[in-house]
């Protein structure tokens, strides 16, 4: 763990996260979330589905795009020269192998995200993360990503070029899968920020568990798909998703 991980998971990182509610805006409209208890249930179901998938994808993207020492932790092996901004070595070039591997990981993300609204939200956040990541951690590895990558892929590449491990990337992805919606619910319901901070903090063991799982899970929640599509069709909304 390094301060780079704190930077990546910081809600102040200007990657556009504050305009997404992770489905909580529609969950509130549908009556599914209305108090700290129902918010906790919502965050848990999101953590164990979308969060788990994002964590797996982010870890895979980091393993693909970082130096040899993290390779082999996920089943997407590609050969790359060592790359790490922190080690002072020259970063890995955006090899065609890496381009192909990230593209196929992006297709895996699509397959796990059949909702067009959720795909758009993920790609919008991925693009935002690439924009700030390129400036914060310049590296040719960014060029290996598709133009609007799924958010966990951008997060995984950011972790790699910042010298972090796949586990770090997974931790950031899992944490962000609940911190964003928690903040959104706090704003929308004018909830006690201390209550929201407390319930988010109590999810830490579950977040850690999700972040240390192996492979790239495909956990889905049709409820989140439905909420996202109904939300996307609305004109009166505060959040992009």
């Amino acid at each position: 763990m390094t301060a780079a991980l704190l930077t990546l998971a910081d809600s102040r990182l200007p990657a556009g996260g504050h305009t997404h509610s992770g489905g909580v805006e529609q969950a509130i409209a549908a009556g599914v979330v209305h108090d700290p208890a129902t918010l906790t249930a919502f965050l848990r179901r999101r953590l164990h589905t979308a969060g788990a998938v994002a964590a797996g994808l982010a870890a895979a993207a980091t393993a693909l795009s970082s130096s040899g020492r993290h390779r082999g932790q996920v089943p997407f092996p590609v050969a790359l020269s060592p790359a790490s901004c922190s080690s002072g070595e020259s970063p890995a070039p955006a090899s065609s192998e890496l381009v192909a591997a990230l593209l196929s990981l992006d297709a895996e993300a699509d397959a796990r995200t059949p909702s067009p609204a959720l795909r758009a939200a993920s790609r919008q956040q991925g693009r935002g993360l690439v924009r700030v990541g390129r400036r914060a951690w310049p590296s040719p590895v960014w060029d290996a990503l598709p133009e609007r990558p799924h958010s966990p892929l951008a997060l995984g590449v950011a972790a790699a070029v910042a010298g972090l491990t796949p586990r770090d990337a997974a931790a950031a992805a899992a944490y962000l899968s609940v911190s964003g919606p928690a903040t959104a619910a706090q704003r929308l319901l004018a909830m006690d920020p201390l209550a929201v901070a407390a319930l988010t903090a109590r999810l830490a063991p579950e977040i850690d568990e999700v972040a240390t799982a192996d492979g790239v899970p495909a956990a889905a929640d049709p409820l989140l798909d439905l909420l996202a599509e109904v939300h996307a069709a609305r004109k009166d909304r505060f959040f992009a998703s």
């Binding site: 504050h18 919008q124 935002g128 959104a184 704003r187 009166d236 909304r237 505060f238 959040f239």
Partner: protein, 229 residues
Amino acid sequence: MPPDHNLDDYVDAPAPHRHSPEGRPGPLRIGLGGPVGSGKTALAAALCRTLGPEYDLAVVTNDIYTTEDADFLRRNAVLPDDRIEAVQTGCCPHTAIRDDITANLDAVELLEARHPGLELVLVESGGDNLTASFSYGLVDVQVFVIDVAGGDKVPRKGGPGVTAADLLVVNKTDLAPLVGADLGVMRRDADAVRGGRPTLLVSLREDPSAAAVADWVREQIRARSVQPA
């Protein structure tokens, strides 16, 4: 600081948005900020009507809850649909123009990609308070719009919008007699806190073309085109 480091290591090259990839200057981005009801959308509409025939332009709106402002611009047909983008601001219109400008940058870049000859983009903020201002990562210059009905004390109260905006517009001067506002006081107070930056007193009701503001915008576009950055 270690001897082999210097401050340049921490500082970026100039923000890339000011030039398109071909090296041609990108569109001038003007932020329109100000409190709710001061006339930002009316000013945006007026500028679209007046400058639309002269420049290739587009608008980004930042409504707090709905796409009402974007719909207003569409309904009034001041711009074709594909030149208006609305962004959601996640309950924080202020954050979206200053602290995390991602959604607005996405919208501006989308408009630039859709209209490669774009010369001017107006970014209209959601109504906020007197502390709201645009990040210069998002816009090149910004206009802060207040109105006479808000009281003639507003310029004296200051705040970053009033003191630091590149142009301060005091709208609804036609209401001054009705609300007992002293335009002379507003002008004097504004000049006192704005360090020589311009202030325009206008009435969009009396001059729907916003001629004075449009002139200022033309000047900004001209100044940029003769000064390669």
